[in-house]
Amino acid sequence: MNGFLGYVNGSSPLHNLHPLTKMIMSVALCAPCFLSGNHLLILGIIALNLCLFASAGGAGRAITTLLSFVKFSAVLFVLQVLFIRDGTPIFTLPPGIVVTREGVMFSLLFVLRFMASTMPLALMLSVTPVGDISNVLVRNLRIPYKYAFVITTAVRFIPLFSEEMLGIMEAQTARGVEFDTKNFIKKIRLLVPLCVPLLVSSVRKIENSAISAELRGFNLRTRLSGYKQYSFGANDVLVIAACAAIIAFSASGILP
């Protein structure tokens, strides 16, 4: 599975952790972004995410993911800075828009939080097969199978849709639609008619999956029938302890 939310095969220590530990780690790496307003701490969390990605053999993917987040964040940052008028003025832009110190700091915090809180999810999904997430949701978190299936199916479909969209864009480029233009606005305008084939193919895929599941007795399932066992090891204990320490540190208020 491709895309930044797909699983990357591997046998790193992160891959071998209990799926529940990986989910806890994902939440624990997100939490400090909202418990603390310290820019350096959040930058540290982003760096930690990158290191974890690298340890799981996904350094290239992490950098690609981060770069795409940075591009999106840059737009968010500019919008935030332009709209926050309160605080100490730094400079004024030609039409009379005042850029303030507080506006810049808040916008920076906002985009750092966005990047730092999204990366752990991408990390977790890159080292955990979707099936394992589903099993853990049902077995350990006691979520009814139908709901777990909905969650994991949604995750599974994201890269498929992304691939489908790339395929559609490729087909349209091949007939002369200028998706290879550098003009961002033009590109967005050209994307609008493509929502039709994407919607049609997505609905077809979902309908086929639903029929396929029904035909295999999806609704007849009355008890757990999974055989895969996951065991907690020393590494899991260490990771959970580290996660607890990170949360405690960020919530302690040691950092301003």
């Binding site: 489908e164 395929g167 087909a171 480029t173 091949a174 002369g176 200028e178 039709v196 084939p197 077809r204």
Partner: protein
């Protein structure tokens, strides 16, 4: 029309296409053969710049695909994908044909004329919703939208997959007529009968390497080459090879009938002489 010079391409570290070199002249009808995963679709995407070579050079009508936009190459090439649903984005067949034309034909009247011409050629109802049509009809709609732009080079990625015999013959008949009028056709196909009936030259790809390039008649009778590429020849060449001496030149049904008739005549003459 199309030239590959030592072209290599890979999605990751490994090459999917390794050192491919060949040339396709104006008006040729060339089939690209190979097992699944051999790199056929990748090679076809390199032809119009959807993929850029990691090394080597691809030129279409003298334009290097690495330096020209794919949308610019699209003004003289047409690419039919395996899945027509990726191309269709309008609510009517007429709208779909017109959509592709908007990028290459500025004159509204000219566009309408071309769209009407395609509707007639494919016997399609322009008011129909393409998403409610059969797979074969959607494939025809996609091809009509491409042909309306009058490409000089037609790239077809398994155009007959999932079609019944009648739909297959409709599509291949139209493509064949266009080729006779001078359009260059480069087609991927797993259907060796279609290849035998319509293509005149074939390229054989295996593991990203070009292992064969020759007339379809020669390729279909090269058992070792076909085995290496995990391919089976069309039925008549296969039968001709099995029968051996006196039949080995037969390639079409008519030629086989002629060979059988000749053999029967020889046998009858031999019996009369005895």
């Amino acid at each position: 029309m199309l030239r590959f010079e030592e072209v290599c391409f890979g999605y990751g570290r490994e090459n999917t296409i390794s050192g491919a070199s060949f040339e396709i002249g104006d008006g040729e009808f060339v089939a690209l053969l190979g097992e699944n995963g051999a790199g056929k679709s990748t090679l076809l995407r390199l032809c119009n710049g959807l993929l850029k070579p990691t090394s080597g050079r691809v030129t279409v009508r003298g334009h290097d695909t690495a330096t020209i936009k794919t949308s610019a190459i699209a003004s003289f090439t047409g690419f039919l994908f395996q899945n027509p649903d990726r191309q269709i984005c309008q609510n009517t067949v007429y709208g779909e044909i017109m959509f592709g034309l908007e990028y290459v034909v500025p004159d509204e009247l000219e566009r309408r004329g071309r769209a009407e011409e395609m509707l007639g050629l494919f016997s399609l109802d322009g008011r129909r919703d393409p998403f409610g049509m059969s797979r074969g009809e959607r494939q025809q709609t996609a091809l009509a939208a491409i042909l309306a732009r009058r490409p000089k080079l037609l790239l077809l990625d398994e155009p007959t997959t999932g079609l019944d015999y009648r739909e297959c013959m409709t599509i291949m008949g139209i493509v064949s007529n266009l080729n006779a009028e001078g359009t260059t056709v480069f087609m991927i196909s797993h259907d060796m009968e279609v290849v035998a009936d319509f293509a005149r030259r074939a390229l054989v790809l295996s593991g990203g390497r070009l292992i064969g390039d020759g007339r379809v008649r020669q390729i279909m009778k090269d058992a070792a080459l076909l085995r290496e590429a995990s391919l089976l020849p069309a039925q008549i060449p296969a039968l001709a090879m099995s029968l051996g001496n006196g039949f080995s030149d037969a390639f079409t049904v008519d030629e086989m009938v002629e060979s059988v008739e000749r053999a029967l005549l020889r046998r009858a003459c031999g019996a009369r002489a005895q």
